[in-house]
């Protein structure tokens, strides 16, 4: 048997490999690559009514986006709201998610039940969640304010979604409420995978519960924290459905829940402008590049941090 034939036996002919990869690649290309490339391309053109092409206009759509009203007001405002949602969900999802996962570790057989309970809202469409919470939080008909008044906490019975001061924080909390099951599951799986021997060894060495958590559990969870954080980052930057269900296309009240995806939505489907396709593609491109850049940088930093740990 020659070396070559051994090689052949291990690795099939490139044509065979290609034949196996092709179906998945075609799907990937048609469903993901093409629309992405098309949006990137569209952002460099000017349109006149729908898909009616006027011509290539370099980066003019982007120049308009960064220099002209309403974009000079709406783009930074929407971006700031996305960042606020990111910071809020990042802190809450990681802390509450980890806390719940650690507590569930001790629950034994009941753990499954609670995991399912925490994950349930995650299975419901954010649109439904949004309308449900709109009803729950309604100052006129909602049970939440009725309960608060019943308890004598009239001062807390606020128009939650009608006041710019509370609308965004409520949006963040409901978003966390909906997605919390996801970090709970990820952290739960990672915790279950941690070797008990290390914990026992540390116990014998006299490490307290808190010390073991800080010095063993947490460092070992770094890769999962990284994954949860990056997914939270992507989710927070792309968020659309919940803000849309709460405040409509304009980020009501008074633009206080406006986010980048709503700006994109208004630009593309809610505009009536001749060059809607070009401008909305420019917004989409910026959003895409920011998410891609952010995710790559975060991954790099996390990778370096994880290397330092070992």
């Amino acid at each position: 048997m020659t070396a070559k034939s051994t090689f052949d036996a291990k690795r099939p002919h490139p044509v065979v490999i290609a034949a196996f990869i092709l179906p998945a690649f075609v799907l990937f290309a048609v469903i993901l690559l093409y629309p992405m490339a098309a949006a990137l391309g569209f952002s460099l053109f000017e349109f006149k009514g729908g898909m009616n092409l006027v011509g290539f206009n370099w980066f003019q759509n982007f120049v308009v986006l960064f220099t002209q009203e309403p974009y000079t007001t709406q783009l930074p405002r929407a971006f700031a709201h996305n960042i606020a949602i990111l910071v809020g969900t990042l802190i809450l999802q990681n802390s509450i998610g980890l806390f719940l996962a650690v507590q569930l570790q001790r629950f034994g057989p009941l753990r499954r039940v609670f995991q399912v309970l925490y994950t349930t809202p995650y299975l419901v469409s954010p649109l439904v969640v949004g309308y449900l919470w709109t009803l729950l939080l309604s100052p006129t008909f909602g049970p939440i304010n009725a309960a608060l008044r019943g308890l004598g906490l009239d001062a807390l019975a606020l128009p939650w979604l009608g006041d710019p001061k509370t609308a965004l924080p409520v949006l963040i909390l409901v978003s966390v409420w909906q997605w919390i099951g996801f970090p709970v599951l990820l952290y739960g799986a990672a915790l279950a995978g941690q070797s008990q021997e290390i914990h026992e060894a540390a116990s014998i060495d006299g490490a307290s519960g808190w010390k073991r958590f800080v010095h063993i559990t947490l460092p070992l969870l770094t890769p999962v924290i990284g994954t949860v954080s990056i997914l939270t980052f992507i989710g927070a930057m792309e968020t659309f459905t919940l803000p849309y269900a709460f405040g409509g296309a304009t980020g009501s009240p008074a633009g206080s829940t406006d986010v980048l995806s709503l700006l994109f939505f208004r630009e593309s489907f809610h505009s009536g402008a001749s060059n809607a396709l070009g401008m909305s593609s420019a917004v989409a491109t910026i959003l895409f590049l920011f998410i891609l850049g952010g995710a790559v940088i975060a991954r790099k930093l996390l990778g370096r941090y994880e290397e330092n740990l070992t």
Binding site: P70, T250, F269
Partner: protein, 435 residues
């Protein structure tokens, strides 16, 4: 919602089966006979985003047309509202699209016309004379001034009021602005909230603002001057009309900026508020709610000093357009001419409880009939819907946002008017509308 059985499709299936059986009989006997094929039937495809429209069309309305035109068969397809514009853009640009499609008025139909995929109807429709100006504006493309749709319907906006509450308090429908405030004051004193506005939804605030302020701003005369570029929204009359939204705040329901459209309907229908400025479609909403509600409608009264009569705010509510790629333009033209006829609107408007965009129709629903009458007499174009939605930001979106700020104590009427004007100046150019 759409789970009701479709007797017509069932019948069609039965007929199809019968004709298939007959057909094979003809083929079998055809060996010796001289079976001449009947005149070829052409199938036209109509698209709409509205289930209600399809149910009305297929539930008897189109039957009248098909009986008169036995060689034309019309299929109505409902495309999901959410993706309607995207689907229609693709459908009109390629094959497999509709022959005739419902398209939303003003900016949307203008944008489709610019793409070159719609055929202008100016010469296709033989008689435009019965249509109102408001309705025709809605299907006229901004760029070339041609008509690209047969108006489908008109929405009017007015004040709904609860007759029982008015009667209990011995109040009459106000006939002047001061009386309107007095009536509001009296209702407030009785413990009922005088006015509900869906203050969480920008578009609904803009519509309510139009009901309350259109005549104050100067009605159609102001709109004409605005589109000609002679006045802007910071004109004192326009600012005064926005100031009304601040003036009525003491009479609005609590936490108005959190009231959604559904909540507003419930609040009014259950008698928690006595007045509700809104569109024609609420007649159907109230009927669907099944609430025991005795309501009437009135146009916002005016003050003599404004120099303008009361108006019925109205805007075009979509039109039927002809695809430039239709394979049967002649048959489609026959259909469109019928869709423009009083005969069609007599059937359609009464099934849908909408206001027909033309004269010569008898409306059965007394509420809608009243609105139709007022509309024919004093219809005034909803400026925001007609002219402020051709670019981002929509003028109506900024209006809603600014009025929310007024209600939240963060803005004045003057500041709001300036913000709306500077918002639309990003794209609004009177020259674009010159026809």
């Amino acid at each position: 919602m759409n789970s009701t059985p479709q007797p017509r499709s069932l019948r069609r299936a039965v007929l199809g089966g019968l004709s298939l059986a007959l057909g094979s009989a003809v083929v079998l006997s055809g060996c010796s006979g001289n079976a001449e094929p009947a005149t070829e039937t052409v199938t036209l495809t109509m698209w709409t985003w509205s289930n209600e429209a399809r149910e009305a069309l297929e539930g008897g309305v189109l039957e009248v047309f098909e009986e008169a035109n036995p060689t034309i068969d019309v299929e109505v397809l409902v495309q999901p509202d959410k993706d309607y514009q995207t689907l229609l853009t693709t459908g009109l640009a390629g094959s497999g699209g509709p022959d005739v499609a419902a398209i939303r008025s003003y900016g949307v139909i203008s944008s489709f016309a610019e793409s070159g995929n719609l055929a202008p109807l100016d010469d296709v429709i033989t008689d435009w004379s019965g249509f109102s100006e408001v309705a025709l504006q809605g299907v006229t493309a901004r760029a070339d001034g041609l008509r690209y749709g047969v108006p489908q319907g008109v929405q009017t906006a007015q004040v709904y009021y609860n007759k029982a509450i008015f009667a209990d308090l011995g109040l009459n429908v106000p006939t002047s602005w001061d009386e309107f405030l007095e009536v509001s004051e009296a209702i407030k004193a009785s413990g009922v909230k005088p006015i509900v506005i869906p203050g969480a939804a920008a578009a609904q605030i803009a519509l309510a603002g139009e009901v309350i302020g259109n005549a104050r701003r100067g009605g159609n005369e102001f709109t004409a001057a605005f589109v000609a570029g002679d006045v802007t929204l910071t004109d004192p009359a326009s600012v005064a009309s926005i100031q009304f939204m601040a003036d009525i705040q003491p009479y609005l329901v609590d936490n108005v900026t959190s009231v959604t459209l559904d909540e507003a309907v419930t609040i009014f229908a259950t008698g928690m508020a006595a007045m509700f400025p809104s569109g024609t479609w609420q007649v159907a909403s109230f009927a669907n709610l099944g609430a025991d509600l005795d309501f009437g409608t009135f146009d916002m009264p005016v003050d003599k000093s404004w120099g303008h009569d009361p108006v019925t705010v109205a805007y075009a509510d979509g039109g039927w357009a002809l695809s430039a790629r239709s394979e049967h333009p002649e048959e489609a033209a026959t259909l469109l001419n019928w869709l423009a006829s009083p005969e069609f609107f007599q059937l359609y408007a009464n099934t849908m409880s909408t206001i027909p965009p033309r004269d010569g129709v008898t409306i059965e629903n007394p509420h809608v009939a009243e609105m139709y009458e007022r509309y024919l007499a004093t219809g005034s174009t909803y400026l925001g819907a007609a002219y402020l939605r051709y670019g981002t930001p929509w003028g109506t979106d900024v209006y809603g946002e600014q009025v929310q700020k007024i209600w939240l104590g963060e803005q004045t009427a003057q500041g709001a008017a300036e913000a709306i004007q500077s918002g639309i100046e990003a794209w609004f150019n009177p020259a674009d509308f010159a026809q």
